[in-house]
């Protein structure tokens, strides 16, 4: 039986088309995915992301614990509220999950992990935390609403409770702040400005209705996926998994190699992979012709001299509503040059290999 978030009835009332996602009944769209996508790029939209898993980590050794647990280094977080994106690796350097962690104070961090990986993440966190005496507390009592788009913050601030709004208003990008049981992060998964609001589940329906009344329309998981792909953000389970390292997943920038004496889970495996030469890379693809790139399509890679390099694979693909052509993320041989071909339903179509950021803050990159 799949679960429902506290906003399930609100989705139905807004005409949400419900699908199963990671064991949750979630809205894929409320009519038109493309209209919802454009709304977030040009105005503001809201997403129910209550299926995501909020975990509070607390204890005197929590910083040391996270410096060991994560490939990125929480010691870089000096200001309370500052957020960090990181991979959580296994010993082989494979990605258990990607996550955001907010540094609140020296004995409290808040982490948000994926819904699809909830059980294994919590098991891993609990297992690793024991030696550090860190308490792992899943916050299933909280719901989460993401309000995203160029007008999202303004709209959200107009309906948040006054004390929460006062705390959220001065937030810089990639910071979060708590206010009572509420928490607001100036973060998101769309490539647009906005807030992610965590709040007691019982109050989520009220905030949802206030946002609706303020003119913020609900958007589904479909738009969330095209928005994140245009922004060049990875999706766990598609673009990286437990058998791919961050180095071949476009996430090398999230590994904090310095200081050299920081031991973190997976470090040795990553160093060995680097020493042996990284064999693949994750790139962006832009299809030159009509058609749609989809996950698992085969990529025929070539170097810049046109010599064949073997096969790669599309890990995420879609039609970009902003660029009006198909875009994708693909894992290809490291020497892949500027062009490749993709096998789309038996036809080989040329695609341009690009930096995997297609749209940022409403503009084509």
């Amino acid at each position: 039986m799949s679960q429902q978030t506290v906003l399930f009835d609100k989705h139905r009332a807004s005409g949400g088309k419900m699908v199963d996602f990671a064991g949750w009944q979630m809205p894929v769209n409320y009519g038109s995915q493309i209209a919802e996508h454009q709304l977030v790029r040009h105005d503001a939209g809201m997403f129910d992301v209550s299926h995501m898993v909020i975990v509070d980590l607390s204890g005197d050794s929590v910083t040391g614990f996270l410096r060991y647990l994560l490939a990125n280094d929480v010691a870089r977080l000096k200001q309370p509220g500052k957020a960090l994106y990181s991979c959580m690796l296994n010993d082989a350097g494979g990605v258990i999950d990607d996550l955001i962690v907010y540094y609140m104070h020296n004995s409290w961090y808040r982490m948000v992990v994926n819904a699809a990986t909830r059980e294994k993440d919590l098991a891993w966190l609990t297992q690793q935390a024991a030696a550090f005496g860190v308490e792992v507390n899943e916050r299933a009592d909280l719901a989460m609403i993401a309000v995203q788009g160029p007008n999202a913050r303004e709209q959200a601030l107009s309906v948040l409770p006054p004390d929460v709004a006062a705390a959220a208003r001065p937030l810089a990008r990639f910071y979060g702040v708590d206010s009572g049981e509420w928490f607001v992060g100036r973060t998101g998964y769309t490539g647009e400005d906005g807030f992610e609001v965590m709040l007691p589940a019982g109050e989520a329906g009220i905030l949802w209705d206030k946002l609706l009344a303020a003119g913020v329309k609900p958007c589904g998981l479909g738009a969330r996926d095209t928005l994140r792909l245009e922004a060049g953000m990875n999706l766990y389970g598609s673009d990286m998994t437990e058998t791919t390292s961050p180095l071949i997943s476009g996430l090398g920038w999230t590994i904090s190699w310095q200081p050299e004496d920081r031991d973190f889970i997976g470090r040795r495996a990553l160093q060995a992979e680097q020493a042996a030469g990284v064999k693949q890379k994750l790139v962006g693809l832009a299809l030159e012709q009509r058609g749609v790139l989809r996950a698992h399509q085969s990529v025929l890679a070539k170097d810049n001299a046109g010599h064949p390099l073997g096969k790669g694979e599309v890990t995420s693909g879609t039609f970009s509503p902003t660029l009006k052509k198909s875009i994708a993320l693909a894992r290809v041989p490291a020497a892949t040059g500027e062009y490749c071909e993709v096998d789309i339903r038996g036809k080989l179509l040329p695609a341009r290999v690009v930096k995997p950021v297609f749209v940022r803050d409403g503009q084509a990159v």
Binding site: V28, I34, V292, F319
Partner: protein
């Protein structure tokens, strides 16, 4: 609830067929099909003159979500394709039974009798 015009014939794979006055057929995908696919972004149309058998793939319709084959409900020759869909595939979402038609066919078989009427098609959607 999806719209199911009474005067059309329907296939199990969610195509509709209209019998024109000159006995040619117009075919498209149903309102149910377009809603299930979501926003259409690309339609691959056949060449006119192509002769196809019933159940052959005749078009590919792609939405943001997925690519889907459209099958010939009847055997016949393609006599016209809806070129407007090349630039505006979303017409199918807006008007699946009128402006969003896919192809016109000169039928060569008599499979038309095997297709469902609106009532029978409505019944399979309820299952």
């Amino acid at each position: 609830m999806s719209e199911i015009p009474a005067e059309l014939k329907y296939s199990k794979s969610h195509e509709w067929v209209r019998v024109n006055d000159d006995n040619t057929l117009t075919l498209g995908i149903t309102d149910h099909a377009q809603a299930a696919l979501g926003d259409l972004v690309f339609v691959e149309l056949p060449e006119t003159g192509a002769e196809l058998m019933a159940d052959d793939a005749v078009c590919v319709v792609e939405s943001v979500k997925a690519a889907s084959d459209v099958y010939m409900p009847v055997s016949g020759e393609i006599i016209e394709v809806n070129e407007a869909l090349n630039d505006e595939p979303e017409i199918i979402n807006r008007s699946p039974y009128e402006d969003g038609w896919l192809v016109k066919v000169n039928p060569t078989g008599n499979e038309l009798d095997d297709l469902m009427d609106a009532e029978a098609y409505a019944a399979i959607l309820d299952e």
